[in-house]
Structures are given as structure tokens and as C-alpha cells.
């Protein structure tokens, strides 16, 4: 079947900036940039906030350290002054006699534990030195754990030198303070850099996250839009006349639903087109059948009359000729009878009337059919069983034509079954209701119909029977299609063929009331 209809399809090329994919990604980029910008700004703010607080803390730490510096200076000066005063006092109390000096110095040494060494150099060049035995081993480090004072003795008596012991922990503590002060300085110096680096790290991290999510979004957008554009490509092909094209999408989401709906629509469209084409073909055949029937029927009666006259007017002179004539006339009459039958079926086919549907209950159609044609197979060789529907349904149908269709089907079934078996022929008719349609099913236990022929047998003049015309099923299908129904063939559980007629149900107000009650 060649499809000639052609839709006008607009060119499907979408510029890159108009594509769904581009737009989704653009939206992602915009949103992401906004988020990153906002977070970077917030980070900058919080860094600046903590920076001012840390800055204040550092400032006060520095002030404190500088205060301690001044304090330390003062402490040292005071200590030095004290040491010098003590040395002066010692000098004042020193005995005049040189030999008395040593015990006096020793007494001083034991009396003041922070004195490490006292030395007196007399004017006469005599050196007297007393030393604390505990500190003798390790030489003291001047300025750190020892402090030396030296004064001239009054009255030109010589020089006095006193070494005081300092607590080295004071210096050590002071040096640690220096380390800390340096650390503060370094912290202050690097603050701006650290601030920049924190912002940079956050920015880079945010940008990485942004890129990651953009990539993910890109992949998602890509898969979605790819399926959408696949669907649009299929639509384009269908628009260009390729009605068998179908979308392959199998997903369960909205796009998948759309694709399935589209496929379904195409199936319906194809079925409708096939129906139309079939009906057109039947119409053409009907026209031809009508003309043939007309052309053949008219000369038949004169021919028959002429032949009868020929037989009646036989003088009977020659018995051989008479016999031959009689035989010939019989043959001609036989053939004429055959032609008449053919003409009859041709004109019956040609005259299949318009369907005039009216609401009718299905069980009534079946009852009438059984009453009128039940005898069709009710001989000793077989049975016809008609099972009316359990719950009656209303259909919009032409009773006469529907019965005619059933007759054709039952006739076919009986004839086919009879070719297949001697007796035990069974034909069953039953119905089954669907939501918006009703099936009339005709089963037989004949030979059945091959899968390959199931479409072809509905074509006019398609027959396997010697005296068949092949019009029976064509009429049936035309009637069914005119009822907006469908017909198809299946395997029957009885072993033969099953014909299924699906007719739309009538949405009768009565039935609706029943379901509503």
C-alpha cells in the first residue's frame, strides 16, 4: 500500500541558541554563577569580619608585649641600681685592716645567697677573693645568669668587685616573649595574603563544584533533549510520508509517555488509512461487479429462449442429431444457470446496501439470527451453538446486514469444516463485552486459516472453493468497517478458525443509568 498523503512539514533545524539543551545549560550556568558569586561574596565578608577581630586581638597582644618590654627595661634598671647600691653599702662596711677583709667578705657571701663572688683588690696589690662553692664549676654568663658590679673603695683603698647571680629564667622568659612578638608580626604581615588565599581557595572550590554540577546537568539535559529530538526526527519522517516510523524510546517518564502516545496515534492513523483504502477498493469492485452482472444478465434470457426454441422446434428427423441437440441444449442451459447464479451473487455483492444503523440490543440480533438461520447446520452432521451475552449490551447496528455477515461467516465455517471432516462439525457463536466495544466471536472446527492468508481472504474474489466467488468475507468486512468496527482471524480453541468482530458499544443513557445505580 503506497501512502500518497503528505503533510507540509516545517524545516526542523533549530539554531543552537534556541535549543532546549542550550537553554537548560544556560540556566544552569546562570544559577551556578549566581550561587558561586554569592558564596564568594559571603566568604569575603566573613573573612573580613574575622580579620578585623583577629586584627584587634593582635594589636592588643602587640601593645601588651611592648608594655612588657618597657616593664622589663624598668625592672632591669631597678635591679642594676639595687646591685650597685648593695655593692656600695658593702664597700662602706668593709674593715680597714686587710687581714680582716676575707672573713668579712665570706660572711657577706653566706649572708646574701644571690652573691656568687666578691673580690677585693687592695691598693697594695693584694687580691682577696671569696667565691660561692656551689657555682664554682660552671662559668657564669654575664648578663644572663650573672651581673658584675665594680666600684673604687673610699679612701683610695682599692677596688671592690661583686658578682651577683641572676635568675636565668627571667631572660629565657623574656626571650620567649620576643619569639611570640615576632610570630604576631608575621601573622600581621601575612594577613592580607591569607585573606586573599582563603577567598581564592573558596572561589576555586566553588567553581569546581559549579563545573561538576554543570557537567551533571549537561548530561541530564543531554539525555532528555536527545530523546526529545529523536521523537521530533520520527515526527519529521512521519510527516514526510513514512508512516511506519516509530519512536524507540522506552523510558517511563513524560518524554516516554509522549513517545508512546505518538506511536499509538500513528498506529490508529495507519489502521484508519487501511480501512479507508479497503473500503475504496471494495467500492471499485462493487462498481465492476454491477457492470459485469448487468452486461451478462441482459443477454441470458434471449439466449435461453433461443436455445429452448431450438429444442422445441426439432423435427426429430435424425435421432442422432436430436440427441446431440438435446445434449448441447442441456449444456448451454446448465452454463446459463451457472452464469445466472454468478450474476446473482455479483449483483448481490454490488448491491450491498448502505449501513443504516439503529440502536439495537446484541442479544436480539443473535436471537433473530438463530431463529432464521439456525437450520443452516442443524442436520445430523453438525451443530450450531449461539450463546447470547450474559449482560445484554446495546450497539448501534444495521440488524439485517449484521445478520447477513453472520450468515456468511457460518456458511464459510460449515463449508470449510465439511471439506475437512465427514461429521461432528461444530460452529459456536459467543460474545464478550469490553469497556467500550463488544466482540462477536465465531469459532469452528474446520481446517483453520494460515497466518499468511488471514489478511488476503478478505479481498474480493479470493476463494479456494470451486463454486465460491470469494465475495463472502469481503462483504462481511465491508459491513463491519461500515459499523466503525474491526474484524480479524485467530486460531480457534475448537481447532479451526475464529473470526472476531469488534463493534463499538453504544453509550446508551439507559446503560449509563444502570451502571450509575
Amino acid at each position: 500500500m503506497k501512502v500518497t498523503s503528505r503533510f507540509v512539514v516545517p524545516k526542523m533545524r533549530v539554531p543552537w541558541w534556541g535549543r532546549l539543551e542550550t537553554r537548560i545549560i544556560a540556566a544552569l550556568v546562570l544559577l551556578g554563577t549566581l550561587c558561586v558569586g554569592a558564596s564568594v561574596y559571603l566568604v569575603r565578608l566573613s573573612v573580613a569580619y574575622f580579620d578585623t577581630r583577629v586584627g584587634d586581638a593582635l594589636d592588643s597582644a602587640r601593645e601588651l608585649a611592648e608594655g612588657i618590654e618597657a616593664f622589663h627595661d624598668g625592672l632591669v634598671s631597678a635591679q642594676v641600681a639595687a646591685f650597685e647600691a648593695r655593692t656600695a653599702a658593702l664597700a662602706a662596711t668593709l674593715p680597714g685592716a686587710t687581714e680582716d677583709v676575707e672573713p668579712s667578705l665570706r660572711a657577706q657571701l653566706t649572708a646574701s645567697p644571690d652573691v656568687a663572688e666578691i673580690e677585693m683588690l687592695g691598693a697594695d696589690g693584694v687580691l682577696v677573693r671569696v667565691r660561692d662553692p656551689n657555682s664554682a664549676e660552671v662559668p657564669l654568663e654575664a648578663g644572663v645568669d650573672a651581673f658584675e658590679t665594680q666600684i673604687a673603695l673610699p679612701g683610695e683603698r682599692g677596688q671592690l668587685r661583686v658578682v651577683y647571680r641572676l635568675d636565668p629564667e627571667i631572660d629565657a622568659r623574656y626571650q620567649r616573649l620576643g619569639d611570640q612578638l615576632r610570630e604576631i608580626g608575621r601573622e600581621e604581615d601575612s594577613r592580607a595574603d591569607v585573606e586573599d588565599a582563603v577567598t581564592l581557595v573558596t572561589t576555586v572550590a566553588s567553581v569546581l563544584v559549579l563545573l561538576g554540577s554543570m557537567f551533571a546537568g549537561f548530561v541530564v539535559a543531554r539525555t532528555t533533549t536527545r530523546r526529545v529530538s529523536e521523537l521530533s526526527r520520527v515526527m519529521t519522517r512521519v510527516g514526510q510520508g513514512e508512516l511506519t516510523a516509530r519512536s524507540q524510546t522506552s523510558s517511563e517518564d513524560e518524554v516516554g509517555q509522549l513517545a508512546r502516545a505518538f506511536n499509538h496515534m500513528l498506529d490508529e492513523l495507519a489502521a484508519a488509512q487501511q480501512k479507508v483504502a479497503y473500503l475504496q477498493r471494495i467500492g471499485a469492485w462493487q462498481g465492476m461487479a454491477r457492470r459485469i452482472a448487468h452486461e451478462i444478465k441482459n443477454p441470458l434470457t434471449p439466449i435461453q429462449l433461443a436455445v429452448q426454441q431450438l429444442r422445441d422446434k426439432d423435427p426429430g428427423g435424425d435421432p442422432r442429431f436430436s440427441k446431440m441437440l438435446a445434449t448441447s441444449v442441456e449444456i448451454v442451459e446448465d452454463e446459463i444457470e451457472g452464469l445466472r447464479r454468478m450474476v446473482a451473487s455479483f449483483s448481490q455483492f454490488a448491491k450491498v446496501p448502505e449501513v443504516r444503523p439503529a440502536p439495537v440490543s446484541l442479544s436480539r440480533v443473535l436471537e433473530e439470527f438463530e431463529r432464521a438461520y439456525g437450520h443452516l447446520s442443524d442436520d445430523e452432521t453438525g451443530t450450531l451453538e449461539v450463546r447470547p451475552p450474559k449482560h445484554d449490551v446495546e450497539i448501534e447496528a444495521d440488524r439485517q446486514l449484521l445478520k447477513q455477515a453472520l450468515v456468511n461467516l457460518v456458511e464459510n465455517a460449515v463449508l470449510s469444516a465439511r471439506e475437512h471432516r465427514r461429521d461432528g462439525i461444530r460452529v459456536e457463536i459467543h460474545t464478550s463485552s469490553l469497556a467500550d466495544a463488544v466482540d462477536i466471536v465465531v469459532d469452528d472446527n474446520g481446517p483453520g486459516i494460515d497466518e499468511a492468508r488471514r489478511e488476503r481472504v478478505f479481498e474480493p474474489y479470493e476463494t479456494t472453493r470451486a463454486e465460491g466467488t470469494g465475495l463472502g468475507l469481503a462483504i462481511v468486512k465491508k459491513v463491519v468497517l461500515d459499523h466503525a468496527g474491526e474484524i480479524w482471524i485467530e486460531d480457534s480453541p475448537l481447532g479451526g478458525a475464529r473470526f472476531v468482530l469488534r463493534l463499538p458499544r453504544l453509550k446508551a443513557p439507559t446503560s449509563r443509568r444502570i451502571t450509575g445505580a
Binding site: 622589663h72 654568663e141 623574656y174 620576643g178 595574603d193 591569607v194 581564592l200
Partner: protein
């Protein structure tokens, strides 16, 4: 400065894998005097760049009474081979001592601290930045040679003013807190912030070649 730094960060970022190791101090050449005294090889080298007499901050720091620490890492190399012949660390402290009312230069040798005092700050600084006849190797560790054929030796000296003790640094404090993410973040930030200077001043020099005369 900040602009340049930022571009520098980005460059560093591009070279991320090698971070932290890639950076070295530029090594300059400086003339040193070598001599053999008794059984040891001694070097005299002056690095006035370590405390410039124009560096007001450094001078103020010396005057403050807090010690300024100088650390010299002396490494002896043989020319043409990549192996070091000897290594030594010398620590020098310079500062104002309020008790003595003098500048004190203390050098840590093998026996302990050696102390010198100066009334002039300039003299004290000069003494502090000069490695005066320090022993860099035993004569036996070097091969004697000739002027023509060598083997030649040279020393590299990495000198730092107030080097940062790794223990005091902020990153060490973070590590002690045990938050791994914080350590990682801090590491990243510090690398980007321009690896914090190891010291207030770093001078890295290599000396002229010398050879050990045959006896």
C-alpha cells in the same frame, strides 16, 4: 604587589603537584677564605646581607633586648659529585643586654655558647654575620690535590635570620587540633598565600672552589 601575588597564586595552582618543593631560594656566589689549621679545614665567610645596616626594623629588633637568631647551615661539597662531604649548623644570637648595657653576640659551638660583647652595634652585627674561621671538616675527610687537577671543594651556606620554629607555626597548632579537613585547608591556603617565609631574611650562597694542598 597583591595583584602580582594573585597571578603568582594562579601559576602555583597550575603546578599543584609539585607545590612546596618547587620553590628554592636563589643561590648567589660569594667569596670565602679557606685554610687548613692543624687537622681541620676552616672557612671565613661574611654575609652582611643577613642584617643590612639600613634595615631599620632589624636594627630596632636588635635594640629591643630580644635576641635576633642567625642560623647558618653550612654544607661542604666536592665539585663534580652530588654527595655532600660535611654538614654543620651554626647558631648565632645577637642582642642588646640591658644588664651589661652592651651588644652581645653569642655563638653556639661544640662546647657551648661563646659570648662576645660590643659597644658598637655595627661592630656587633659585623661579628654576628661573619663566620670567622669555623671548622667545616677534618682534613682527613678531604682528598688532597693540586691546583690543576683538584679535587675541588666548595661550600654552600644557607643563612636565616630568625628562622621560624616549626613548632610555633599556625599549621602545627592546627595539626595538634587533629581536624584533618582543617589541616588540609590550612595547607592549601598557606601554599597559595605564598608559602610563609621560613625566616625574616634568607641568604643562600655558594662559595668559590678550593683544594687541599698536598703536604
Amino acid at each position: 604587589m597583591t595583584r602580582w601575588r594573585r597571578r603568582h597564586f594562579l601559576a602555583t595552582l597550575a603546578a599543584l603537584p609539585g607545590l612546596g618543593f618547587a620553590r628554592g631560594d636563589p643561590v648567589s656566589r660569594r667569596k670565602a677564605k679557606f685554610g687548613e689549621i692543624a687537622s681541620s679545614v676552616q672557612m671565613t665567610l661574611s654575609l652582611p646581607r643577613l642584617i643590612r645596616l639600613t634595615d631599620a626594623e632589624a636594627l630596632a629588633s636588635i635594640d629591643s633586648g630580644f635576641d635576633t637568631t642567625l642560623e647558618f647551615h653550612v654544607t661542604l661539597w666536592e665539585h663534580g659529585s652530588r654527595e655532600q662531604v660535611g654538614h654543620r649548623v651554626i647558631v648565632v644570637k645577637i642582642g642588646w643586654n640591658p644588664f651589661l648595657k652592651r651588644y652581645v653576640v653569642k655563638t653556639k659551638g661544640s662546647t657551648g655558647w661563646m659570648q662576645r660583647t660590643f659597644t658598637s652595634r655595627t661592630a656587633a652585627i659585623e661579628a654576628a654575620v661573619t663566620l670567622d674561621r669555623i671548622r667545616i671538616a677534618a682534613s682527613d675527610d678531604l682528598t688532597r690535590g693540586t691546583f690543576e687537577d683538584g679535587p675541588y671543594y666548595f661550600a654552600t651556606v644557607l643563612a636565616m635570620r630568625n628562622p621560624i620554629k616549626e613548632d610555633d607555626s599556625a599549621s602545627a597548632r592546627r595539626r595538634r587540633r587533629g581536624d584533618r579537613d582543617l589541616v588540609w585547608f590550612g595547607h592549601l591556603v598557606e601554599t597559595l598565600a605564598g608559602e610563609r617565609a621560613r625566616a625574616e631574611e634568607v641568604v643562600h650562597v655558594r662559595t668559590n672552589y678550593f683544594y687541599l694542598e698536598a703536604r
